[in-house]
């Protein structure tokens, strides 16, 4: 059956009442989470996974995916109107979007962001529909050692692309892998790091950890201080004029391509996509000084790029079973909780599921366009809920989410302690994304490592005799070593310069 036929059947399934209901619900929640401060898409998805266990796998993943891509749409509103990005992907939008709002052009800024997001999201999804099967067929040819090497490469990329120190990111990645080893060993049935506690035999529920890390951790950071922002609620007409559309056409096209390509790379974030798109637009502009003062291109490009990125992000998940971001890792865990294993066999074993989810993303873009053009004022009302009320309610939902993972209060303790550690790590700039990713893919990574060594009879040659495995492992090694080498080079340069500076300073003192 051709891709168009499969997509058509998928679209028909989306319009079944239950699927459509959960798609709208996912988009509403995603949009609201993007608008409201204090909770990101990863924590929101983690919170809702236990609730989805009573639904069909298709309806569950449709909703979780809707939350993921809906969040990017919602984050734009606070960026433009309050200069407070709801999501990291919208940080760059605030630069010109907020300036436009101050000049009374908040409406067109939101309008062009919605149009760009729609185009980026739709093209990203079409890329997923038409490209994923090819990726999937190619992925079917790879064995356990290649799969292990691919995961190592993905972890290397995630740690290096994480903000801040790569060493800190690696430490967080290893910590995630380590927590994944807690529980009964899948091969020999021996307990590992369980300290005789039966509750630990099934491992630590990573959903509870993620809720704590992202949900509670974020709240603890927010309640430390009181932030007051100016709200520009006078948005005027949201429809951009002809000149706006002409100015934005190029940035939207370029943003779509940039976002899509970065979406395929594990570890890249939608914030990187939007910053790169902004950089490209500034460098191409005839008058770059307009940027930062309310240039519509500075809103159109980045907003398109981050939405194209988000939808392309599903390609590595659906075809390789590799999550590229923390939110996608949560969707992966949502799929697995519902009995669906992402990876090369997904298109072969669950075609109805996968095509319905892909089609739901296309319908979801239309729903979100409606939410963000004619209905944008409804979402602005949400900004009037004081954070002092909101944070208490989010706290309550973090407890419910953690409890509902296994209907066990033990996970409430896990969530609270994880939240406290998430808060501490955040204060010290230890990135959370590598931790969450390795937490999810850790058991799979170990399984494939052991499987490859079992197949080779314990010979490590399997990792350098198979060309693809070798290339991926070398790539991973280079990815990790390069920033450390760069740091060492800077350190040597600084050490050479400082004695000279010190010498110069002492001679000038004498004068």
């Amino acid at each position: 059956m051709s891709t168009l036929n499969l997509l058509f059947h998928g679209t028909q399934a989306v319009f079944q009442p239950m699927n459509l209901l959960f798609l709208v619900l996912g988009c509403v929640l995603g949009q609201a989470i993007g608008v409201l401060p204090g909770i990101g898409s990863a924590a929101a998805i983690a919170l809702l996974i236990p609730v989805t266990l009573n639904l069909s796998a298709t309806a569950s993943v449709i909703m979780l995916a809707g939350i993921f891509y809906g969040t990017n749409y919602g984050g734009t509103i606070t960026s433009v109107l309050m200069n407070t990005p709801g999501e990291s992907a919208s940080v760059v939008t605030a630069i010109d979007g907020y300036q436009m709002a101050k000049k009374g052009r908040g409406g067109p800024a939101l309008g062009i962001a919605a149009i760009g997001s729609f185009i980026g999201g739709t093209v990203g999804t079409l890329g997923l529909a038409f490209g994923a099967q090819w990726f999937s067929n190619t992925a079917l040819k790879i064995g356990a050692s290649e799969y292990f090497a691919l995961m190592v490469f993905a972890v290397a990329l995630v740690t290096v692309l994480a903000t801040g120190s790569p060493v800190k990111a690696l430490l967080m990645g290893i910590l995630g892998l380590l927590i994944g080893t807690i529980g009964i060993d899948p091969d020999l049935g021996i307990p590992r790091f369980t300290f005789g506690q039966i509750k630990l035999y099934d491992g630590i529920a990573f959903i509870a950890i993620v809720i704590g890390f992202f949900g509670l951790g974020e709240i603890l950071v927010n309640i430390e201080r009181k932030v007051q922002d100016t709200i520009y609620t006078q948005v005027g007409s949201v429809l951009p004029n002809k000149q706006d559309l002409r100015d934005s056409a190029g940035p939207i096209a370029r943003g779509t391509v940039i976002g899509f390509i970065l979406g395929l790379i594990p570890g890249a974030t939608s914030a990187i996509a939007s910053f790169l798109s902004y950089g490209v637009e500034v460098s191409r502009a005839k008058d770059p000084s307009r940027f930062g003062k309310g240039a519509i291109e500075g809103v159109a490009g980045p907003e398109t790029a981050n939405n194209s990125f988000v939808n392309a992000n599903f390609i590595p998940l659906f075809t390789l079973g590799i999550p590229g971001t923390a939110s996608i890792a949560m969707i992966m865990s949502g799929m697995m909780s519902n009995g669906i294993v992402p990876g090369p066999f997904l298109f072969r074993d669950n075609p109805a599921f996968v095509w319905t989810v892909i089609a739901s993303m296309l319908v979801g873009q239309v729903i979100l366009l409606i939410f963000n053009l004619p209905m944008v004022r409804v979402w602005i009302l949400l900004l009037k809920i004081p954070y002092s009320i909101l944070f208490v309610l989010i706290l309550e939902f973090t407890l419910i989410g953690a409890y509902a993972v296994a209907f066990d209060t033990f996970n409430m303790y896990v969530m609270t302690i994880s939240g406290f550690f998430g808060y501490l790590f955040k204060k010290m700039d230890f990135p959370a994304a590598p931790f969450v990713l390795t937490l999810v893919i850790g058991p799979l990574m170990e399984k494939n490592l052991r499987k490859s060594l079992e197949i080779s009879g314990g010979e490590f040659a399997v990792f350098y005799q198979r060309p693809l495995t070798l290339i991926l492992l070398l790539g991973a090694a280079l990815t990790i070593i390069w920033p450390i080498f760069k740091w060492f080079k800077i350190y040597v340069k600084n050490s050479k310069e400082s004695p000279r500076k010190a010498k110069g300073a002492s001679s000038s003192d004498r004068v």
């Binding site: 290893i174 509670l216 944070f391 208490v392 406290f420 740091w487």
Partner: protein, 164 residues
């Protein structure tokens, strides 16, 4: 910041040693391939090594950090007020996790929402009461009736007899 980072790196190193020790008590290799101790052992080694690298990085990049530190930045740790607020939230969540099996979801959430809204949220009493009731009894109703998620009920006699 550097001191806190060095302490964290040391904790990672101690954890690494602990993991190596734990992994060594497990089977490293079996006849068919790696055993349960193989993967954690190498993770422990990496943790130890990376913790050491972080300490070395902090020790040998003094000048660079000094320049950055001289710029006015937001303090990393909260003041006493912020620390108290963080402490209150953590303590409240741990308390709810402990008492929820005895007094049930509705009573414990009512107390949590009410106390946090009143102390940290500084809302008016009527507003606090309304949100607390909907956040406890209302949420319980939605989760159990519409989402089929069973939430804990009270195990103490005097609360369970009144249906809580």
């Amino acid at each position: 910041m550097k001191r806190a980072e060095n302490i964290t790196a040391s904790i990672f190193m101690v954890l690494g040693i602990f993991v190596i020790k734990g992994a060594m008590s497990l089977i490293y290799m079996t006849d068919i391939g790696p055993g349960p101790g193989f993967f954690p052992l190498w993770l422990g080694v990496l943790l130890l090594f990376l913790g050491l690298i972080l300490i070395l990085q902090n020790t040998f990049s003094k000048k660079k950090v000094a320049v950055i530190d001289s710029e006015p930045t937001e303090p990393m740790w909260p003041g006493i007020g912020g620390a108290i607020r963080v402490g209150i939230v953590i303590f409240s969540l741990l308390a709810v996790s402990f008492f929820i099996t005895y007094i049930g979801f509705r009573v414990s959430m009512f107390l949590l929402v009410f106390s946090l809204l009143y102390t940290l949220g500084r809302q008016k009493i009527l507003m606090t009461l309304a949100i607390s009731l909907s956040g406890s009894f209302g949420v319980y109703f939605i989760f159990t009736h519409f989402l089929s998620v069973e939430l804990p009920v009270a195990s103490v006699h005097w609360l369970s007899v009144v249906g809580l």
